[in-house]
């Protein structure tokens, strides 16, 4: 049986058992996640991305379905950190799994404010920080290292293993693979850029995980195109400490449990 992932900050610890999570953005804040699946099949619930201040949806929010997956562009709408905590704290207490709050920050100062605020919330077991700007890796990694609660730094996979190794050298305690960005242009010249999800990503995710499994000494959470239990078991065998699931959760989640 697969080992649980134990994330620790030295002061607080969370056990993610089984080592399966959802990708941020796929189960909301847990409001209706239980209507899609048995949440006990996951070792933790990663929330939708939350920013310090409220964000509105993108005016051109859209989705493009391609042959091997889809692009999603939402603008990462959310009510801001304080309102998110107030609105969902009680619900999270009733859920049967640990809560990992996904944070998006524009600067190290913003991240600092958010982590300090979240550290006061006992219901949040860990934090995942989305790193979009690779220039922020070292600053975000340094902040993650000092946090009282466990932190996962989520990095985009497009640049290969180097950013992950850089984050480890900078002191990141744990890492996760984010979805790549992609673009599409339709026949009218309208373009869409967003995050890409789908089964066509799996070979790239496995390849990267195999490299990271040989080179990283800190835990990393793999993600990308997992469609079956065979897929996530292979990622764990490659060295990932846990796996995040995305598009199958909106389809037939039972096909992934195995």
């Amino acid at each position: 049986m697969n080992e649980p992932l134990i994330l620790s900050s030295g002061k607080r610890e969370v056990i993610l058992d089984p080592p399966l999570l959802n990708t941020a953005g796929f189960l909301g804040f847990g409001e209706m996640a239980g209507s899609l699946m048995d949440l006990r099949k996951l070792g933790g619930l990663v929330t939708n991305p939350v920013s310090l201040r409220p964000r509105s949806p993108a005016r051109d929010a859209d989705v493009h379905l391609a042959a091997g997956g889809y692009l999603l562009h939402s603008g990462l709408p959310n009510p801001g950190l304080e309102r998110t905590l107030a609105a969902h704290r009680q619900r999270w207490e009733s859920l049967p799994l640990p809560i990992i709050l996904h944070l998006i920050a524009q600067s190290a100062d913003e991240l600092d404010q958010m982590i300090m605020r979240v550290e006061r919330e006992t219901i949040v077991s860990a934090v995942e920080v989305g790193v979009e700007n690779l220039a922020m890796i070292e600053a975000f990694a340094a902040r993650a290292r000092r946090a009282e609660l466990p932190v996962l730094l989520r990095l985009p996979p497009e640049a290969g293993p180097q950013p992950f190794l850089q984050a480890e050298r900078a002191g990141a305690p744990a890492l996760s693979l984010g979805p790549p960005r992609g673009s599409w242009q339709d026949a009218d010249g309208q373009s869409l850029s967003g995050r890409y999800y789908g089964p066509s990503l799996y070979p790239l995710a496995l390849h990267l995980s195999q490299t990271l499994g040989r080179t990283l000494t800190i835990p990393f959470v793999a993600a990308g195109g997992v469609s079956s239990s065979r897929d996530w078991r292979a990622l764990l065998e490659a060295g990932a400490s846990a796996v995040q699931l995305d598009f199958p959760l909106w389809l037939q989640p039972e096909r992934v449990w195995g």
Partner: protein, 225 residues
């Protein structure tokens, strides 16, 4: 919201040469007019469920236009999630229904016609063409303008990106006799159906609203550009 299997009972071809599919499903999955279903063909892998708005709703199930170009045949099973969202709620005493397909297919409005005629109401449809098989009682106009003063209930469907244009055409809240009696169905793809992805967000008087949760049918007065 529930998830269950449905079965294809029969298929056909509509007036535009598109495949139509009749699905039998359990009563709790049968949508009301305006609600969506998220559908997966059990034998055809897909990364995302299809967002479906039936064009006919019956006791045992519904009819829809085939959501993909694959082959559909009786006996096929479909995995259904829904019904999603808030349906149309026509006022009980409305007797002059104006249905408007604004840059959108007519099909999501067709179930309302069955209800209107069953209730003895007169129906006018504003659409670019007359759908095949439409009851002869239903008058079809190219533009809703001339029928607005006549109507005592307005139901429209519009793609999300055209909401602003529709609001402009209706002059904001519309004629005074339609205030509080106008509903707009905002069409968009619903990737998740659980309010997680944010793709279906619509601006309203209360801030932005997720169409899969609080829509897709909104009172006209709530919509903003």
């Amino acid at each position: 919201m529930r998830r269950s299997q449905g079965k294809v009972e029969s298929t056909g071809i509509d007036g535009e040469g598109k495949t139509t599919v009749h699905v039998r499903c359990s009563p709790e999955l049968r949508p009301d007019p305006g609600q969506a279903l998220l559908l997966l063909h059990s034998s055809r892998p897909s990364s995302m469920r299809h967002t479906v708005h039936p064009n006919k709703i019956r006791r045992g199930g519904f009819r829809m236009r085939a959501p993909d170009n694959g082959h559909w045949q009786p006996g096929d099973t479909v995995d259904l999630l829904g019904p999603i969202g808030r349906p149309f709620r026509p006022p009980e005493r409305a007797r002059r229904w104006l249905l408007v397909a604004f840059g959108a297919p007519v099909s999501p409005l067709l179930p309302l016609i069955d209800i209107a005629l069953a209730n003895g109401a007169d129906v006018t449809l504003a659409s670019s063409s007359r759908p095949a098989g439409l009851p002869s009682d239903v008058e079809v106009l190219r533009s809703p303008g001339e029928a607005l003063p006549w109507a005592d209930y307005l139901a429209a469907c519009v793609p999300r990106k055209a909401v602003g244009e529709l609001l402009l055409q209706l002059g904001g809240a519309g004629p005074s006799q339609l205030r509080g009696r106008s509903e707009i169905m905002v069409l968009s793809t619903l990737p998740c159906g659980i309010g997680a992805c944010g793709i279906c967000a619509v601006p309203t008087s209360d801030g932005w609203s997720l169409s899969c949760q609080m829509g897709p049918v909104y009172p006209l007065s709530q919509l903003r550009e």
